[in-house]
């Protein structure tokens, strides 16, 4: 515990001893703030004259403003996550400080969790911006504070998932830039495949001429691939949550997703014991 805390502190302070922490928070604040202002103005215009914009009544605030903006913030973290996580292990390897870290009386658990929590600490700082914007919403609009709090939590869970992937990739690399690039590439693939999967038909459109066995096989494979594409897109489970709909399976999705990649990081760091 004491050691995890020591690693956490060193790592977290590191974000703000270098420009990276300020740059990431600044960019996140600027873009999420801009999106907040623009979409709030847009919502205000629509709600003043819903008929002119094709709505029968004033659209639901949570559904048409709050949730899309929060999911946008979460997706924005996707772009910034590689910058936060690429250094975690790759930089230590590149600078050789990994030798120091691995010869100090630290357990793998203390190193990995300390580092992961430090990146989550960074995430918490980024979310202060979201919280400030939401506080404004709470003050101006009749939205339950619990919904806003849960919305912030949603963005946190999305970020934690992105960061866990980034940490894992960093733990396998010697170079920060490669680590960041691969992390980003991975996110983009997941994101795009998730977007594509929304337009895929529910059933595989097999030609009538195919034999039944082949049709069945194609349907099964198609089903698995389509489901995977839908599930692996990290933003998929955030939409409902961001409206304040509490579902165990959404939360479990993010917790398990992060836990899985943290687990992979453990295995990756352990591989030094058996790799040549």
């Amino acid at each position: 515990m004491r050691n995890t805390w020591a690693v956490f502190r060193r790592e977290f302070a590191g974000y703000f001893q270098t420009p990276i922490g300020y740059v990431v928070c600044g960019v996140f604040a600027a873009i999420s703030g801009l999106a907040f202002t623009l979409s709030l103005f847009n919502y205000a215009r629509i709600s003043q004259s819903p008929g002119m914009h094709g709505y029968p009544t004033v659209p639901d605030f949570e559904e048409s403003f709050l949730s899309p903006w929060l999911v946008f913030c979460g997706s924005l973290i996707m772009f910034l996550a590689p910058l936060v996580t690429m250094r975690l292990f790759a930089e230590e390897r590149h600078r050789g400080t990994i030798e120091l870290l691995l010869t100090l009386p630290l357990r793998d658990r203390e190193i990995i969790l300390g580092k992961y929590f430090a990146s989550l600490g960074m995430l918490a700082v980024m979310l202060l911006v979201v919280a400030a914007d939401l506080a404004l919403v709470g003050w101006l609009a009749p939205v339950e504070p619990a919904v806003l709090l849960f919305g912030t939590f949603t963005v946190f869970l999305m970020g934690a998932s992105f960061f866990s992937v980034g940490m894992f990739v960093s733990s396998t690399m010697n170079n920060q830039v490669t680590s960041g690039t691969i992390t980003f590439g991975l996110f983009l693939v997941l994101f795009v495949s998730g977007a594509i999967s929304k337009d895929l038909p529910a059933q595989y459109p097999a030609p009538e001429a195919w034999p039944d066995a082949l049709k069945l096989a194609a349907a099964v494979v198609y089903g698995v691939v389509r489901n995977l594409m839908q599930e692996m897109a990290i933003d998929g489970h955030a939409k409902d949550m961001a409206q304040g709909v509490l579902q165990i399976r959404d939360i479990a999705y993010y917790v398990l997703f992060s836990a899985f990649f943290v687990f992979l990081t453990f295995r990756s760091l352990e591989s030094r014991h058996w790799r040549g």
Binding site: R2, A6, G14, T18, R95, T103, L104, P105, R107, H273
Partner: protein, 243 residues
Amino acid sequence: MIEVEQLTKRYGNITAISGISFTVARGEVVGFLGPNGAGKSTTMRILTGFFPASSGTAKIDGFEVHQSPIEVKRRVGYMPERVPLYEEMSVLGFLRFVAQVKGVPSASRKDALERAMEHCGLGDMRLRQIGNLSKGYRQRVGLAQALLGAPPVLILDEPTAGLDPKQIVEIRELIHALRGEHTVLISTHILPEVSMVCDRAIIIHQGRNAAEFRLDKLAEGAGAKSLEEVFIEVIARGSEAAA
């Protein structure tokens, strides 16, 4: 205190060390010598638990390095060869981190930090960023970091490499002062240094034990040789045997 038996390390097809064995008694200061690429750093990295050996055992204070890594790491202060340090941290901040991880109790941490910095002549540099330090001072930070927590065993990989003569003398005196309290294994290319600070020398060559002798024995007898002569002779003999 340090027991190494038949230690072998292979990287793919390359064998870095093969069957190295030696022991270092408690309180002894031993020079670990050999030409470049002899396997000194590899041996030290296995001893400190940075990576495992391909075969053979290494024990520190009775604990096998691979089986009880934490026990071993608590007992070893290690200064890696190129002295990797967290550039963005201040000297004090970095040493505080190391002290915390090494379990120096918070009540005595301040004293321990002061002592380590004073020992290594870092008093004036405490608030400097490590990235801005000169090579000599980086080396001292590396040494201070190894000394923190008063580990019984010190493993120093070329602690005086790249220092100016004055700094070398200072570090040498520092190591001299550690005698008795600590068991020290020190690798170096600078042979006079070994004669001055070490009780014993172990020479390895091409990943194998090449020679081992007490330095006070070297000066005795009719055919008294200097350490340089012995070193060159041993290396030449080893190379012939290999050829």
